[in-house]
Amino acid sequence: MTTAEESMLRANAIGTPLTRLDGTEKVTGTAPYAVEHPVDSPAHLHPLQAAIALGRATGIDTSAAEAEPGVLAVLTHANAPRLASTGNGELEILQSGEVGYRGQFLGGVIAETPEIARRAADLIRVHYERYEHDVELRADRDDLYKPEQVNPAFDTDTAQGDADGALASAAVTLDATYSTPMEHNNPMEPHATIACWTDGELTLHDSTQGVYWTQAAVAPLFELDQQQVRVISPHVGGGFGSKGIPHPNVVLAAMAARLVPGRPVKFPLTRQQMFSVVGYRTPTIQHVRLGADEQGRLSAITLDVVEQTAKVKEFAEQTAIPTRTMYAAPHRRTSHRLAALDTPVPTWMRAPGECPGMFGPEVAMDEMALACGLDPIEFRVRNEPETDPESGLPFSSRNLVACLREGARRFGWHDRDPRPGTRRHGEWLVGTGVAASTYPVFAMPGSQATIRATPDGRYAVRIGAVDIGTGTWTALTQIAADALEVSVGEVDLEIGSTTLPTASGAGGSSGINSWGSPIVAAARTLRARLDEHGGTVPAEGVEATEGMPDNPHTSQYAMHSFGAQFAEVWVNADTGEVSVPRLLGIFAAGRIINARTGRSQLLGGMTMGLSMALHEESVLDPRFGHVVNHDLAEYHIATNADVGSLEVDWLDEHDPYVNPMGSKGIGELGITGTAAAITNAAYHATGIRVRELPLHPDKFLR
């Protein structure tokens, strides 16, 4: 049996800053996104959305819409295809007139042009019976409930020792509540689909994070075999989780296309429609309690989270998960409680769980360090666990302390005066802050890769993976080249279609792990077969297919990436305006496959974390149940003018246990901890501790 060390891939192309193989296509506009695929005589869909938050459509008058020239069909629950019941209340649309949330699809118009479809949809008159709706999350609701598990399959609650007892007897304690608001994913490319039925089979050009995920969700709804649904998605303009689990827009497109068989139906969502139907990050309320001895060693950590889900379908964000791994303490407890509301369904948004869950607890660590009279880095170092605190497993690798120390050196932390509110630059109060980052190493089962060598010296690598803008095309080519021990130029990668071998989707930062591992396995099998042919490729070629290998270390080690983020924040003493001139992130995430696209992902994650800290907040109007600031004019995302110096680096971390590439996944790590570092720096600047995001100016005028 080979050891973990022996099975590690020798890096040649891996680790280099290879430029994106799809870069030229993208910057010249020739890379086709979902609705840009050339199709013959497309029809266009515009949706009909519920104008109430809860109730029932008692009558839908489509006569005026149907009379519009150019209208091909009008879709409502009266003529919609019957869907099989799969238990997914989000996707099972148009099966009745019931309305579960404002903006829910009630139908649509299919027409010769998008303009006609939109105009006709506007002519549809809907009569409603309204029920009283309930869309407000509060921690003191008496109907909070405990979900069976939290996303994707974690325990809802955990407990060890006697946290309450330890807190009662601790020398230093902290008891504080933190909150993050509802936030919406806004990838540049909106959710978009072309659906076409031919001979009872469905083809979807879809902007998705997983072609096989879309297939698996759609096929059973229409009572089709998996292979009767073909999904194509070579390029995706961002997803961040919102294109992972398919949303009702895909189902509506497929239903509409059913009414015009043989014609492709295009359905790109508008930005405003996205705010109703493609999910969001739940608001979170995080009650943190910490207890420590005089030396600043934690005896107790508790985190009780309250958040929301939708009545039409449950989604339980795993906000307390990172607290189970970050710091040592003998007595600990975590819990999640949900309010089920008449709202759209929350979903994955970059680092679901870890992103909000590294806000409250990491601000609490800053507060507790001060309470213990310790530097926040030293306080974290003192509470570094030897093994995973809850499972007791050793870490496959854990370099949080090294990240904190290297970051401190690079940031110039050593001569920091810990007193808050004492540094001024004109009318600006200046501060610095730190927080930790973490993200688990996920591996998804089920992917397969096929590699074919041909006598012309080329290697065709085929896998139904996707590139949501992260650089999958480039990184998988680098992995295949090293596994085959050939140059990058000899590899022809194919991804982005269900005509390719099965693959998991881009989610949980697991893409490289879950797609790279079977590619390496297939390459090794192929090389063994080539050896049988004396090292030459026979005329008919040689092929090998392998699945995701079992990793025996998964049950033996706790596998996580870590990082440390440092922020310099200026807060205007008179107006409370917040500016972030400097961010530094140092990460330890195993081997980085592509130094260029890897850096971009971490920079992007930190920028999104900055945006979360300063700007992002979906404002839900409780009277109507809709998001008021439902477009990019009012839902603010950080602009260039908000981002100052942004620096990213990583440690050379060697981890032979995670996978043959030694890589841990970096798509989500960069967003975790950023908002906490900025919030901690804003406290250091002002002496005002803000525990609710975003850091709007009025919060600093107390």
Partner: protein, 298 residues
């Protein structure tokens, strides 16, 4: 929807007279957004971009006449030295692409209380030239705004130009938003010194149903400066004067709570911006009594 595209100003006025419900469109940065979101469904659009003279400016009798169709980018490039306050405000409008399309005339016609161009016009005592086939009239800018997104135009009238005197003293503009660019103002404040008539002008944005002047603040400060002979021999201002000016500006406001901010924050911030911009313009006046303003954006 009819699309009217006159090629001369005369034809545009005729068209507006015949189609009083026509919506004029210049850069389209407001009108197209409203159409796209179905907030407005005009029966006809009157496209003014084919009229070259509307996108020009000229100087007569010591005043600048800025055509209603002059894009912000040209206003900044060509008139920024003589209208520094307006140029600072114009630089905070949208993105470079929006500034290439958007016009001062369009900003006026939208009459948003948050329009970035309005406070400097108020502070400078600008006049809006409006015209119809019946004739031309000049409206002081504060009489132009009549309510939230409402103005004093008759149904057959179009905005032809803005008349504004080049700066004779320092001017400033300050804007607070919830991010650093491409943002609708939480609130704005403009100030202009007019040493030749010993007056101070002010303009407030996102502070009330319409853009407005803080007249009490103007009277107070103009009086203080004149009484103490500061226009001729400027000295550092007393803190009490600066504070009182800020308080009077804040008192002029009647803001609301909305998605962007609270009324309390707006009131506070207006006082801060008033004190801050007064400090800037007064420093400049003391150091360079003849110059016309700080070039950079606040």
């Amino acid at each position: 929807m009819d699309f009217l595209r006159p090629t001369s100003w005369r034809d545009a006025l005729e068209a507006k007279a015949h189609h009083p419900d026509a919506t004029p469109i210049a850069g389209g940065t407001d009108v197209m957004v409203e159409i796209n979101f179905d907030h407005r469904r005009p029966t006809s659009l009157l496209d003014l971009t084919g009229i070259d003279e509307l996108a020009s400016w000229s100087e007569h009798g010591g005043k600048l006449r800025i055509g209603a169709g002059l894009p912000y980018t040209r206003l900044i490039d060509e008139l920024g030295d003589r209208l520094p306050g307006l140029a600072i405000a114009a630089r905070t409008v949208g993105s470079p692409q929006i500034r290439n399309r958007g016009t001062l005339g369009g900003n006026l016609a939208s009459a948003s209380p948050a329009g970035d161009g309005h406070p400097p016009l108020l502070a400078s005592g600008a006049e809006v030239e409006v015209e119809s086939v019946r004739g031309t009239r000049l409206l002081p800018v504060e009489e132009f705004f009549t309510g939230v997104k409402r103005h004093a135009l008759a149904s057959d009238e179009l905005i032809s130009a803005v008349h504004i005197a080049p700066a004779t003293g320092a001017q400033q503009f300050s804007k607070i938003g919830t991010r650093n660019a491409m943002v609708i103002a939480v609130c704005t404040f403009a100030i202009a010194l007019h040493p030749e008539r010993q007056r101070v002008g002010t303009g407030l944005g996102s502070a009330a149903p319409t853009p407005l002047r803080a007249i009490e603040a103007e009277e107070f400060l103009s009086g203080e400066l004149a009484d103490s002979g500061q226009w001729d021999s400027p000295r550092p201002l007393d803190d009490s004067v600066v504070r009182q000016f800020g308080d009077l500006v804040a008192r002029a406001a009647s803001p609301i709570d909305d998605v962007r901010s609270t009324a309390d924050y707006r009131t506070h911030a207006l006082g801060v911006m008033a004190r801050r911009t007064l400090g800037w313009v007064w420093d400049e006046y003391r150091n360079h009594p003849s110059s016309t303003g700080r070039p950079e954006c606040a």
